[in-house]
Amino acid sequence: MVKMHMVAALNSALRHTMSQDDKVVILGEDVGVDGGVFRVTEGLQEEFGKERVVDTPLAEAGIVGSSIGLAINGMRPVCEMQFSGFSYQALHHVIQHMSRFRQRSNSTASLPMVLRAPCAGGIRALEHHSESPESYYIHAQGIKVVMPSGPKDAKGLLIAAIKDNNPVVFLEPKSIYRSFKEEVPEEAYEIELGKANVVQEGSDVTIVTWGAMTRATKKAVEELGDVSCEIIDLRTLWPFDIDTIVKSVEKTKRAVVVQEATRACSLSSEIVAQIQERCVLKLEAPVKRVTAFDLPFPQFALEKYFLPNTTRIKTKIKEVVDF
C-alpha cells in the first residue's frame, strides 16, 4: 500500500495495463511530453515510447474517431479528452459509431476503448471546464460510463475499464484529483464494472451518489450525526447497480440521490424512476434529489451557488427522514 492521490492512482493503472498488454496505446492532446495537463499520463511516454503514448494534433473528433479505428483493428486505445467540456467536438463519433459499432457489425467487432475525461466543477476553472456530462454518454447507449470517487477506486476501475471489451467513458472529477490521498495497493487490481460500493451502512435512509459527491455526502452525513445513513457510491453509472440500490431502499424505506450534474433527464431521474417502480410500497417518503440547477454551468464567480453542497445534502436528508 502506498498513500497516493487520484492522479497518481490513475497513472499507476495506466502503467500496469501498458506493461501487461502492448495493444494498449494512449492518445490525446499534451499527454506525452507534458504528461497531460493534470499529469495523469506523466512519465508514460518516457517509459513506453512515442508510438504508444502519442501527442496528437489538437482535434477531439480526430482523437476519438481514430481511436475507434484503432480499436476496430485490434488495439486497445485509451484516449484522453483534455476536459470533458471539449469532448463535445467528438460527441458525434461517440453517438454515431462508438455506441453502436458492435450492433452495426452484428457483434463482429467490439470496441475495446476507453475515453478518459476530467469532468465536473469545484476548482474555479474557466468556462467549459466544469460540466458533468455523464447523461450525454448514457443516452448514447451501448457505452459503459464510469466515475470514480477516490484514488483506490480510480485505479481498480480504470484497469477494469481498459480490460473491458466494450467502449467505456471514464469520467474523472477534477476536484478530487489531488484533494485527498488514500492507501492504494501497489499491484494491479480490478474493481468490477457494474457493481456499486456500499460506502457506509445505515438504517434510516439510503443515499445514492457517485464521483466527487461521494465525499461531500460522507461529510454531510458526519455533520448530521444522529441519522443512520446508508451511502452507496455507484462507481459505474451505466449500467448502474440496481440490485444494491433496491436492497438498500427496501431496508431503509427512504432514499436521496445526490449528483453534481444538472437535474432534468439526468441519471438521478432514472434512479428515482427505478426506485419508484420497484419499491413504491416499501417507501415511507418521496425520493428526493440534490443536484446542480438546470442552468448552463455559470462562470466560476457563481460556481459555489450552482454546485450541490453539504448544506443542501443535509436539508434533503432531513426532509426525507422527517417526512
Binding site: A61, G65, G69, I72, H97, Q103, S105, T108, N165, I242
Partner: protein, 372 residues
C-alpha cells in the same frame, strides 16, 4: 527583409483511356492483361445491372432506401480491384462496386440493403466495414485502422471512400491531418460525382479541385478521370503500394458523375438538367471499355451477350439469396450491444418485448389468425 515564394504545389491529372477507346501505352498498368480488363468489364456490368435491380426492388417495396452507384462503376471497380485481401475497405454508403470487386458475397450485399446487419458480419471479418452514413466520419476510422496496421507492423493499407460533399466536413480534414502527421498507410478516395444531393461541387468549395486539399497536409495527391477504369486502377494501385511500403497517405480525386438520384428518396430532376445528364452519358464508363475492346479488336457481340447473360444469372442468384434469408429475431438488437453479460435493463426490456409478442401471438390464435 525578404518577400519571396516559399512553396509551390502542383497536381497531376491522369487519364489512361479516352472515351473512344484509345489507350496510352506508357500509362497502361503493366500488371494488367486482357483477361483482367475483361474481368473489370464483367464486374462493371454486374454492378450496373445489380444497381438497377436494387433500385427496382426498392420501388416495389422489397428493400429499403437504396443509393445508386450508376455512372461510378469505373471508380468503384477500378479502385476495388487494386486492393489486396489484407487491405481494409472503409466505405460510405454508395460503394457496392468496391465490395463486388473485392469478391464479397453478393447475397449479403442485397441483404445489407434490407436493413439486416447480419450481412455485415463476414464482411467486417474480411476487413470491409459496414456502411457509414454520417458524412466523412468514416475518414477518421480509416485513419485509426491504418494507424493500428502501422503499430502492428502489418503490410496492409486502408482505403476510405467518400464524396465531394464530405470534403466540407471537419472530420475529413482531421483525418487527413492525422494521416499525414503520423504517415499512416491510408488512401483517401474521393468519388467526386459532382453532387452532394442537390448541391453541386461548386457549391461546396471555392477550390478548383478536391485533390489540391492534400497540399495543406503535404500529402500525395492525384486527380484522375473517374470514368476511366484503367486510370483509377493505376492511381489506386500506386497509392496503396506507397501506403504499404510506409510512404504515407494519398488523396485521390476520381472525377465522375452520379447518373442516378442521391437515393431512392431523391428526385434529381429538381436540381439538374437533362442536358447535363446527357453530357455525362456520353462519358459512360462501361461504353468506354467497350470502345477499348473494339479498338484493340477483341470485342464481339457474342462476348457482349455472354456477359449480359452471365450477369443476369448472377444478379438473380444474389437477389434470390439475399431476400430469402429469414428475418432477424428481436433478440439480435439486444444481444449485439454489449459484449459479455447483458445488462439488467436490457434483459428486462427484452422480456417486455417478448411478453408483448407472446400476447399478440395468443390473441392471434384465439381470433383464428387475425391480429385484432
Amino acid at each position: 527583409m525578404v518577400r519571396k515564394e516559399i512553396k509551390t504545389c502542383s497536381l497531376e491529372y491522369m487519364q489512361v483511356l479516352t472515351q473512344d477507346g484509345q489507350v496510352d501505352h506508357d500509362l497502361y498498368p503493366k500488371e494488367l492483361n486482357e483477361d483482367k480488363v475483361k474481368e473489370m468489364y464483367h464486374l462493371m456490368v454486374l454492378l450496373r445491372t445489380m444497381d438497377e435491380k436494387l433500385f427496382n426492388l426498392q420501388r416495389t417495396g422489397k428493400i429499403g432506401t437504396y443509393a445508386q452507384a450508376k455512372g461510378q462503376e469505373a471508380s468503384q471497380i477500378g479502385s476495388g480491384m487494386a486492393l489486396k485481401e489484407e487491405d481494409w475497405i472503409i466505405p460510405s454508403f454508395r460503394e457496392m462496386g468496391v465490395f463486388i470487386a473485392r469478391g464479397a458475397d453478393r447475397k449479403k450485399l442485397v441483404q445489407s440493403w434490407n436493413g439486416d446487419t447480419r450481412a455485415y458480419a463476414d464482411m467486417t471479418k474480411a476487413h470491409a466495414l459496414p456502411t457509414a452514413i454520417p458524412i466523412a466520419s468514416q475518414c477518421l476510422h480509416a485513419t485509426g485502422i491504418a494507424w493500428a496496421s502501422k503499430l502492428k507492423k502489418e503490410k496492409s493499407a486502408s482505403i476510405v471512400y467518400f464524396g465531394d460533399g464530405a470534403t466540407s466536413e471537419g472530420d475529413f480534414h482531421e483525418a487527413l491531418n492525422f494521416a499525414a502527421q503520423f504517415q499512416l498507410p491510408v488512401v483517401f478516395f474521393c468519388q467526386n460525382n459532382g453532387w452532394a444531393i442537390s448541391t453541386p461541387t461548386s457549391g461546396e468549395m471555392n477550390s478548383e479541385t478536391v485533390a489540391q486539399k492534400a497540399f495543406a497536409y503535404d500529402m500525395n495527391a492525384i486527380k484522375v478521370d473517374g470514368n476511366d477504369v484503367l486510370a483509377v486502377y493505376k492511381a489506386t494501385s500506386e497509392a496503396l503500394t506507397r501506403a504499404r511500403e510506409g510512404q504515407g497517405p494519398t488523396l485521390i480525386e476520381a472525377e465522375t458523375f452520379r447518373m442516378g438520384d442521391h437515393t431512392t428518396s431523391d428526385d434529381s430532376s429538381k436540381y439538374r438538367s437533362d442536358e447535363l445528364k446527357a453530357q455525362w452519358a456520353k462519358k459512360d464508363p462501361i461504353e468506354r471499355l467497350q470502345n477499348y475492346f473494339k479498338a484493340i479488336g477483341t470485342w464481339s457481340e457474342d462476348y457482349k451477350t455472354w456477359v449480359e447473360e452471365t450477369v443476369a444469372k448472377e444478379v438473380e442468384e444474389a437477389v434470390e439469396g439475399g431476400l430469402s434469408v429469414e428475418a432477424p429475431t428481436y433478440k439480435q438488437m439486444f444481444e449485439d450491444v454489449f459484449e459479455g453479460e447483458m445488462p439488467w435493463m436490457l434483459k428486462e426490456q427484452q422480456a417486455e418485448l417478448e411478453a408483448e409478442l407472446q400476447e399478440i401471438e395468443q390473441r392471434s390464435q384465439a381470433t383464428g389468425g387475425g391480429n385484432k
